[in-house]
């Protein structure tokens, strides 16, 4: 067990180093991309570009630049933005993280309960009209671009029906910290939560239904049935438990990716200043230190979620523990 843990941690570290090198290469070694020219602006003279190159340290060899950046990010933690000079990167991310966490955690609550409900109902009424309807709705949910859905939600709740009783409670776009006003925090995040959750409700509901139906043909379900247990008890206590294994895997990966910044489209549409939006802004400005830090932060969550999934696997499925 202990050696497994060590191996897992070593693997995490390896993947994160790999990602940091990849990001570094994308921005510094892509043919045609010169960060100094980019920072100096479009019509800068060669002297200005050379000046920028020297003052940002772009004239040093690539491995040296990489090592300096990593040292300042992780050891000294004094890495500053290229664009807003003097702004330290690490606290900036720490400031944006609660917004993203609020968004993703709330959406996760919706999508866990929503998809389990849909999966159970569809599996229990297999091949009925209700089952088909739920599955088609799920597919539509998967097929919608999330930013477009967000704009439609804004159109309805901020403009068209904002003056009617249904949506008059919707606050203007933006984020209010939980500690400042919990009720306003909830109100301003409710619609982003639902918007972000719809894709995953569709996806997970369909996956869950498929694996519940598959579990229905297993021997242990036949045993449960022959014991005379009720259908609903079989579905919830026996079939659902095994089916949740696939569910947990998906959840870990998606949750990690979203907290890491993949929720950026939702953040952009609902004007939430989270990590995704911070990353996107940094990417547009080619603000490499911020990009480096946010991508490292993102990959940490993805890799960590992966490891967590492996552990949860063992708890849910005793067969894995032996192997």
């Amino acid at each position: 067990m202990f050696s497994l843990l060590i191996r897992r941690v070593a693997q995490m570290v390896f993947v994160m180093i790999g990602i940091s090198i990849l990001v570094f290469l994308i921005f510094f070694a892509t043919p045609g991309a010169d960060p100094a020219a980019r920072i100096a602006g479009r019509n800068a003279s060669p002297e200005v570009v050379a000046e920028v190159r020297k003052s940002f340290g772009f004239d040093k060899p690539l491995p040296v630049q990489y090592a300096v950046m990593m040292k300042r990010l992780f050891v000294d933690q004094d890495l500053t933005s290229f664009v807003n000079r003097g702004e330290v990167v690490v606290p900036e991310i720490m400031g944006a993280a609660p917004v993203t966490l609020s968004l993703v955690l709330g959406a996760a609550v919706f999508w866990i309960f929503g998809s389990i409900a849909i999966g159970l109902i569809a599996a229990a009424t297999k091949d009925s009209f209700l089952d088909r309807l739920l599955m088609v709705l799920g597919l539509i949910g998967i097929s919608m671009p999330v930013y477009w859905l967000g704009e439609i939600v804004n159109l309805i709740t901020q403009s068209r029906l904002h003056d009617s009783w249904i949506f008059s409670w919707v606050p203007p776009l933006g984020y209010t910290p939980l500690t400042e006003d919990p009720w306003l925090w909830f109100k301003s995040l409710l619609l982003p939560w639902i918007t972000l959750a719809i894709l995953y409700i569709g996806l997970y509901g369909r996956v869950l239904r498929a694996s519940l139906v598959e579990a229905g043909q297993e021997d242990y379900i036949r045993t449960a049935r022959s014991k005379g247990l009720s259908e609903s008890r079989i579905l919830i206590r026996h079939a659902l438990r095994t089916s949740l294994i696939a569910f947990v895997t998906l959840f870990g990966l998606d949750f990690g990716a979203l907290v890491g910044g993949s929720a950026l489209l939702t953040e952009v549409v609902f004007a939430l200043q989270g990590v995704g939006r911070l990353t996107y802004q940094a990417l547009l400005d080619l603000d490499l230190p911020v990009i480096m830090a946010t991508v490292m932060y993102a990959s940490f969550f993805v890799v960590f979620a992966n490891a967590l999934v492996d552990i949860l696997y063992g708890i849910l499925d005793p067969r894995v523990r032996v192997a």
């Binding site: 990849l22 991309a33 097929s143 477009w148 901020q158 990353t279």
Partner: protein
């Protein structure tokens, strides 16, 4: 040689044709493709408009009256402008005009061509690359497998959107030049390649796994025992066996690629002006969302319909070829 009455492919094709939902989806998809291909016909012969040139001062005739395509805003401070809304007249600004006075309906059809082209081409690139890496890693094993698998691990842990956005931002601002290959910054091949690359790990992994188990199968061992060269085993024995997986991925991957392209274009780092795609039109409509919502709604509906058709078709193809395939990409 006598051909068997029904091979596995023919059986799968029959099963697919019998699937009414999948056939309806295929019909819808073909209809959308044809409509987009007919974009120049629509623009020239029905709407009589040039959807790519700015026409801010233009006018059009509705019910015998001249109407400006873009009017100064009368709401609020009177700043900004409001384009013509939908006329619901198929011959004349069916969906209205955008902020530059261009016909939205015609742009929608032209944009669809790019969206479909990028989704299709990036799917082919992704599948070819994934098949190559999966086959090579699984078949040769050892250090080759280790290098490829570790690289895929790294790509896997890199959130897709961040990777796609990073590549797009660097490449789209400068273009790409390596040796004799030079791609200008507005070229459609940039989003095609970027989207084609980012999903490779998701397809390569299942293929590699399949090759690993195929390698131990008796017909491969027999071929090896007979001294058949490696490349021939790969081509004649391995590839046909992983082909079902690859084909099952086609519609699903195309659906995902279409969504990715639209997201990149929406963030203004996908298709570049003056070209349009459904994503760029949604972005054009973002500023008009409260005044002229149809500019953004219409391309969104086009995306939903196309992606939905591809997803239903993908379900059908999977049921016909390989019902137990566990595939997932997002």
């Amino acid at each position: 040689m006598v051909r068997p009455a029904l091979g596995p492919w023919a059986r799968a094709a029959r099963k697919l044709v019998a699937n009414r939902a999948a056939m309806a989806a295929l019909g819808l998809f073909i209809l959308i493709v044809l409509a987009c291909l007919a974009a120049p016909l629509y623009a020239d012969y029905i709407a009589h408009t040039d959807p790519f040139s700015s026409n801010i001062d233009g006018t059009t005739t509705i019910d015998g009256q001249d109407v400006a395509l873009v009017q100064p805003s009368t709401e609020g401070l009177g700043l900004g402008s409001i384009p013509l809304g939908p006329t619901w007249d198929i011959r004349n600004f069916f969906l209205g005009a955008d902020a530059q006075g261009r016909d939205v309906a015609a742009r929608l059809l032209y944009g669809g061509r790019n969206s479909l082209l990028i989704a299709g081409a990036s799917t082919i690139i992704c599948l070819v690359l994934a098949a190559l890496t999966g086959l090579i890693a699984g078949f040769f094993g050892g250090i080759t497998d280790m290098l490829i698998s570790r690289l895929l691990d790294v790509l896997w842990a890199f959130p897709i959107y961040l990777l796609a956005i990073s590549l797009s931002i660097v490449l789209i601002s400068h273009g790409f030049s390596i040796g004799p290959i030079e791609i200008t910054s507005g070229s459609l091949s940039l989003p095609i390649f970027i989207i084609g690359i980012v999903y490779v790990p998701y397809v390569a992994r299942p293929i590699r796994g399949q090759v690993l188990s195929l390698k131990e199968s008796e017909f491969v061992l027999a071929a090896k025992g007979l001294g058949v060269p490696d490349w021939r085993i790969l081509w004649r024995d391995m590839l046909p066996n992983v082909m079902t997986t690859i084909i099952v991925f086609v519609p699903l991957l195309m659906a995902i690629n279409m969504l990715t392209e639209s997201a990149l274009s929406f963030l203004s780092i996908g298709v570049q002006a003056p070209d349009a795609s459904w994503g760029t039109i949604i972005q054009d409509g973002q500023d008009l969302i409260y005044t002229r919502p149809w500019v953004a709604i219409a391309p969104g509906i086009a995306i939903v319909l196309t992606v939905l058709a591809l997803n239903i078709l993908g379900d059908g193809v999977r049921d016909a070829l390989d019902p137990r395939a566990k595939l997932r990409i997002t």
